[in-house]
């Protein structure tokens, strides 16, 4: 991005000194001084802890007594731990359901908003407002809105004689319900997509119209490719975040850190929830750290895979430079 590789037309006898050869001591000094807090933060709250959790994952550690080396035992235990397997299933189901639906729905809404709509400000506010609602409040609202007997969601279903699901107590409905609750906050993503769609240069559409392109062709050949880098970024962010769902499930299904279940049949036992329970409910910090590292590696691999695959489908304007 930063490299401005301008092919020099005239052959210069003396190459321009690289910028650090012209650096002043004063600038270097203050440059480092100003980033000291941020670099310390990186060491103490990011880099250090990631390494520490790798080390901890090979130990058994309850904080009170010294950590005891157990080798790979924690990792071996993971694969035979039914609850861990359950938590993987639950999380994957959620990610698989939430990420595509959130991205597609947000993009569709943003496309509608990108037409020259009157009162766009009002619409934007309506759609965006739920995404600022605190997660605990959102969980509390939906617990009652989704109440099978007295909630307003099931009321019309009952009136029309349709089956009225027990959203938050039927194990099969729990994940879809949580996805639904999260989708209430999709306004965030809508605004991001809206900004990127609006940012596509009008001249591209004009040129396409001259060539007789219809709405679908314009969408397929201009809008989609021109916004693909933002779609890609949102995809990554959403995947990373939804692998770590915790709060909503905790508020709705867990009464205390050591509670032994998360929803009927552990249907809301998300990965991070189970990790949290091991660390802060049972003080199994070594075991929880091994879970953390598995999650970390999976997310990194996935991110890498997405980055790798993006060459095929993401268009960057700077390409070829």
């Amino acid at each position: 991005m930063q490299t401005t590789a301008v092919p020099s037309t005239a052959v210069k006898p003396t190459p321009k000194p690289r910028f650090w050869q012209r650096l002043s001591f004063e600038e270097t000094f203050w440059g480092w001084v100003f980033i000291i807090p941020a670099m310390l933060g990186f060491l103490f709250f990011h880099f250090g802890p990631v390494l520490a959790s790798l080390a901890l994952s090979f130990t058994s550690y309850d904080i009170i007594t010294a950590p005891r080396w157990v080798g790979l035992a924690n990792y071996q235990k993971l694969v035979t731990d039914d609850l861990w397997i359950r938590s993987v299933e639950v999380t994957l189901r959620y990610v698989g359901l939430y990420v595509p639906s959130a991205l597609i729905a947000s993009y569709a809404i943003a496309m509608l908003m990108a037409r020259n709509i009157r009162g766009i400000n009002l619409y934007r506010t309506m759609w965006y407002l739920p995404s600022v609602v605190p997660l605990v409040a959102s969980a509390v609202i939906w617990r009652w809105a989704l109440h099978p007997e007295f909630g307003p969601i099931n009321y019309p279903l009952k009136v029309m004689g349709l089956p009225s699901p027990r959203w938050l107590t039927d194990p099969n409905w729990i994940i879809p319900s949580l996805v639904f609750i999260s989708l209430w906050g999709l306004g965030n993503t809508v605004l991001i997509f809206l900004a990127s769609i609006k940012g596509v240069s009008p001249s591209l559409y004009e040129a396409a119209e001259v060539d007789g392109a219809g709405p679908w062709a314009k969408f397929r050949n201009i809008t989609l490719p021109m916004t693909s880098s933002i779609i890609f970024f949102q995809l990554i962010i959403n995947v990373i975040n939804s692998f770590q769902v915790f709060g909503v499930a905790y508020v709705l299904f867990v009464t205390q850190p050591s509670a032994s279940s998360a929803g009927p049949n552990n249907a809301a036992l998300f990965y991070v929830l189970y990790m949290f329970r091991n660390a802060f409910g049972y003080f199994r910090n070594g075991y929880a750290s091994s879970m953390a590292w598995v999650l970390f590696v999976v997310i990194m691999l996935l991110t890498w895979l997405l980055f790798y695959s993006q060459r095929k489908w993401v268009y960057y304007e700077t390409e070829g430079k």
């Binding site: 933060g41 037409r115 407002l129 409040a137 007997e149 307003p152």
Partner: protein, 280 residues
């Protein structure tokens, strides 16, 4: 002509979806406020009651008898204000350095900071907790405030982008007058960046006000609870009473400031979202 009709239908469809969907998005707010004004029996009524009759405004007064709302509020405000001050201060310093000072290793250090954006929170949670246990800070507000004084990738990135747009001439002129970097930062860069700083402040206020997981980990005692923890705990309060309408009152009191803040600083909210979402 057919083309025109097609766009007409398209527009109608857009308005229809956006309006109906928008109303649907706002309905839970209405449900929340309505439930907060209900008598306990109205909560358990079929068909659901939308407009409580009469609205029980006294719910709002009563909740203060059972829940130390002011305590929760002052805890939340204390954490939010101190953490926000910290993140703005530390991030803007770093962002200034990354944006405008030239030194060896700068871009590498910036990349290092940015890389933490991709780092899952879960991967660092346990060792950071242990660190705070060893420091004796668990059960105090420190774990929720101190990390903010060491910068954050999103805020640094955002401010750096903005600082880069400030003309270099301003800084050069001040340097000729003999101003040092700290003074330039305080008297030129910060005052010119009010818009960007507002965005960062808004994002941080929102994050700290809404945060649930970190307070849950670090604040076990009830008198240290934030509003989010207090609201969660209220759901499970025993005592043979039905608390649901009070839960709704407290949820309303937690949501209202955020909604009001949105209307006051709409631009900062929208810009913050868009800027953090657009580029990785």
């Amino acid at each position: 002509m057919g083309m025109k009709l097609q766009t007409q239908i398209g527009r109608f469809f857009a308005y229809l979806v956006l309006t109906l969907g928008g109303i649907a998005m706002l309905t839970p707010f209405f449900w929340l406020i309505s439930s907060s004004l209900k008598a306990p029996h109205e909560i358990y009524q079929f068909p659901p009651v939308w407009i409580p009759d009469p609205p029980r405004w006294e719910n709002y007064a009563e909740v203060f008898q059972y829940v130390p709302v002011f305590r929760y509020l002052s805890n939340t405000l204390l954490i939010t204000v101190l953490a926000t001050t910290g993140i703005v201060f530390s991030s803007s310093l770093a962002a200034y350095s990354f944006a405008r000072l030239r030194f060896r290793g700068r871009d590498a250090m910036f990349a290092v900071i940015l890389s933490t954006l991709m780092l899952p929170f879960a991967a660092t949670m346990i060792p950071v907790y242990i660190l705070f246990v060893k420091l004796g800070w668990v059960g105090t507000f420190a774990p929720l405030i101190v990390p903010s004084w060491f910068g954050g990738p999103i805020t640094i990135f955002l401010l750096r982008q903005f600082f880069r747009t400030i003309p270099m001439e301003l800084e050069d002129a001040a340097r000729i007058d003999g101003a040092g970097r700290p003074r330039i930062f305080l008297t030129i860069i910060l005052p010119l960046s009010r818009a960007a700083l507002t965005v960062v402040v808004v994002l941080s206020l929102l994050h700290n006000w809404n945060d649930f997981m970190a307070p849950l980990i670090y604040l076990q005692k009830r008198d240290l609870y934030t509003l989010a923890l207090g609201l969660n705990a209220l759901q499970y309060l025993e005592g043979g009473r039905d608390w649901t309408h009070y839960v709704m009152v407290m949820a309303t009191m937690m949501v209202a400031p955020v909604v009001i803040a949105y209307f006051l600083a709409q631009r900062a909210f929208v810009e913050g979202i868009v800027l953090t979402g657009l580029k990785g």
